[in-house]
C-alpha cells in the first residue's frame, strides 16, 4: 500500500471542520492524488462533536473509512477526549492549544498551534480558524501542497478567498515550526 495517508479532523459543530476536510481533499485532487472524504452526520454534525476524515493515496482507495489515522486535528477539548488516543504511534497531532489546554499522553508527535487565537487576533475573524488549522496540519504533515490548498480555498470560498488564504498561509507557517 504505497503512500496512503489517513487524516481525521475533529472539533465542534459550527467550526467548519467538514469544510476543512473537503478543502483538504480537493487540494489532494489538485496534487493528482486519489481521495475519499467521509464525515459524521446527524445531530453530531449540528452541535457537539464534529468529525471529518480524509484518505489520500496514489492508488484507488478501497475501504473508505479511517480507523486509526496518521494525522489528527483536534479543535475542541471534547474532540481531544474522544479522539486523541486513537492515533498511529508515529502519527502527528495538530492541536488548537488556545482552546484545548489538556491532552492525554500519546506517543504521536504533537504540534501546538493557537489556531482560534491566531484567527481572531491575527486574521481578525475567528471563522477562518478551520482553514488556518488545515494549513497548519497540511504543512506539519507534508500532506498536500500549499499551492493546491490555495486553489481549493479559492474554489470553495470565492467570496472570502483573500482572508482565508491569509489564514491558510499563517497556519502553514506555524505548521513549519518545529519545537
Amino acid at each position: 500500500m504505497a503512500n496512503k495517508l489517513s487524516i481525521r479532523l475533529s472539533g465542534t459543530g459550527g467550526q467548519g471542520i467538514i469544510l476543512g476536510g473537503i478543502i483538504l481533499a480537493e487540494a489532494a485532487i489538485l496534487d493528482g492524488k486519489e481521495v475519499v472524504q467521509t464525515q459524521s452526520y446527524g445531530p453530531e454534525a449540528r452541535g457537539g462533536a464534529s468529525k471529518a476524515e480524509v484518505i489520500i493515496s496514489d492508488e484507488t482507495i478501497k475501504y473508505p473509512k479511517v480507523t486509526t489515522p496518521e494525522y489528527l486535528l483536534l479543535m475542541s477539548q471534547e474532540a481531544a477526549r474522544i479522539y486523541a488516543s486513537n492515533i498511529k504511534e508515529d502519527g502527528l497531532i495538530v492541536v488548537d492549544n488556545s482552546i484545548v489546554p489538556e491532552l492525554p499522553q500519546v506517543k504521536a508527535k504533537i504540534v501546538k498551534v493557537p489556531v482560534s487565537q491566531l484567527a481572531r487576533e491575527e486574521i481578525g475573524n475567528e471563522l477562518t480558524a478551520n482553514i488556518l488549522a488545515v494549513g497548519a496540519l497540511a504543512s506539519a504533515g507534508n500532506i498536500v501542497s500549499l499551492e493546491s490548498l490555495e486553489k481549493a480555498v479559492a474554489l470553495r470560498l470565492p467570496k472570502v478567498a483573500e482572508l482565508n488564504i491569509k489564514a491558510l498561509k499563517l497556519g502553514w507557517d506555524w505548521g513549519q515550526k518545529r519545537d
Partner: protein
Amino acid sequence: MRKAQLLQGNQACAMAAIDAGVRFYAGYPITPSTEIAEFMAENLPKVGGKFIQMEDEIAGMAAILGAALTGVKAITATSGPGFSLKQENIGFAAMTEIPCVIVNVQRLGPSTGGPTAPAQGDVMQARWGTHGDHPVIALSPASVLESYDITVQAINFSEKFRVPVIVLLDEVIGHMREKVILPSPEELTLIERKRTNLPPAEYKPYEADSTRIPAIADFGTGYRWHVTGLFHDENGNPSGKADTIHKQATRLLTKLDPYLEEITLYKSYCTEDADYLLISFGCTARSAAEAVDMARSKGYKVGLLQLQTIWPFPEQLVKEFCTGKKAVIVPELNAGQLRGEVQKVITNQTLSGVNKINGDLITPEEIVMKIKEVAGQC
C-alpha cells in the same frame, strides 16, 4: 470527460439523472437521501425540468408516475421508511409498466432505525416490498463514480424495459465524497422508451411484440388510453378473466428474461486463481476488496465478485464464479439477505457470511478473519 472533482455519492446520482435526461423529480426529504432532492430542487429548473416536494413519500412516488406518463423521465429518492411507504405505487408502476427510477439510500432498519447509520438491509424489500409477483430491477453502486454510472444505467433500463428500477445506494456511498472523473453528458449512451408509431385507432397500449415490451404513447398526444392497476387486457381495459390475467401476469414475469445478460452488471477482482470467493455489493464490497489485498499478502488466494445488479439476481453469473472455489463468503450489512440468494444457486461450496447490523461498517480485518477461519476448515 469532465475535470477531476470531489463529489458526493448522492450528488453524483442526482447529476447522472439530469445528464441522462431526467426532467422531473418528486419526493419527500429523508436522511440519508436528502442531498439528492436538494440538488434536484436547485438544478432541474435550470434545464427546464420540474422539482416538487410532495406532502409525503407516497405522493412523491405517485407524482413521478403521473409525470412519466406524459413522456418525461422521472425519478424519486428516499430511504428505508420512505421506501416502505412507496411500495404500493412501485407495484402500480410494475403492473402498469411506467418507466421510473427510485433511489433508496439504505439506512439501518427496521423502522426509524438508524437514520445516519450505514446498512444494506433493503435487499429483499427491493425485490419483494410490494405485494404480488412482479418484475423489478435493482442496482447497487459501490463508489461515487458507480453512483453516477449506475444511475444512468437505471434510467436506461427503466426506459427500455418499462419497469421500476431501484438504485440501492447506501449511507456510506451516498454521503462520502470521492475523487471522480465523470463523463460529459454528450458521451453517455441514452435509451428512450419505445413510443408507438401506430395511429390512435389502431393502438393497443398493452400489446407486446416479440420484445415483450409494449410501445407507449405519451399522454396528451391523442391516444386517449387507460392506465389501471387492475389486471387488464391488451387494450388496457380491466379484466377479471383468468385467461386474461394469466396472459398479462406471464408476460410481466418473463419480460426481463431475454435481457438478463444485458441487465447483469458486476465487477470482479483477483478471482481467476482464487480458492476463496467473496461476493458483496455496495459499501461492503469496498471492505471486501481491501480484505482481498490483505488476505493475499498473507498468502490466501481470495477474489471478489462485486454485484452491481442485485435483482434480477444474477444466478448464472454467481454459479460461474463459484465454480471451482473451495468456499464462498458473503459480507453484507444485513443478517444474510444476499447470502440466501447465493445459497439457492451454489452446489457444493461451503457458504458463510460476514454480517453486521449495528450501524458500523464491516472492516476488512473482520473479513480477513472469516477467510482464515474458513480456510482452516477447508
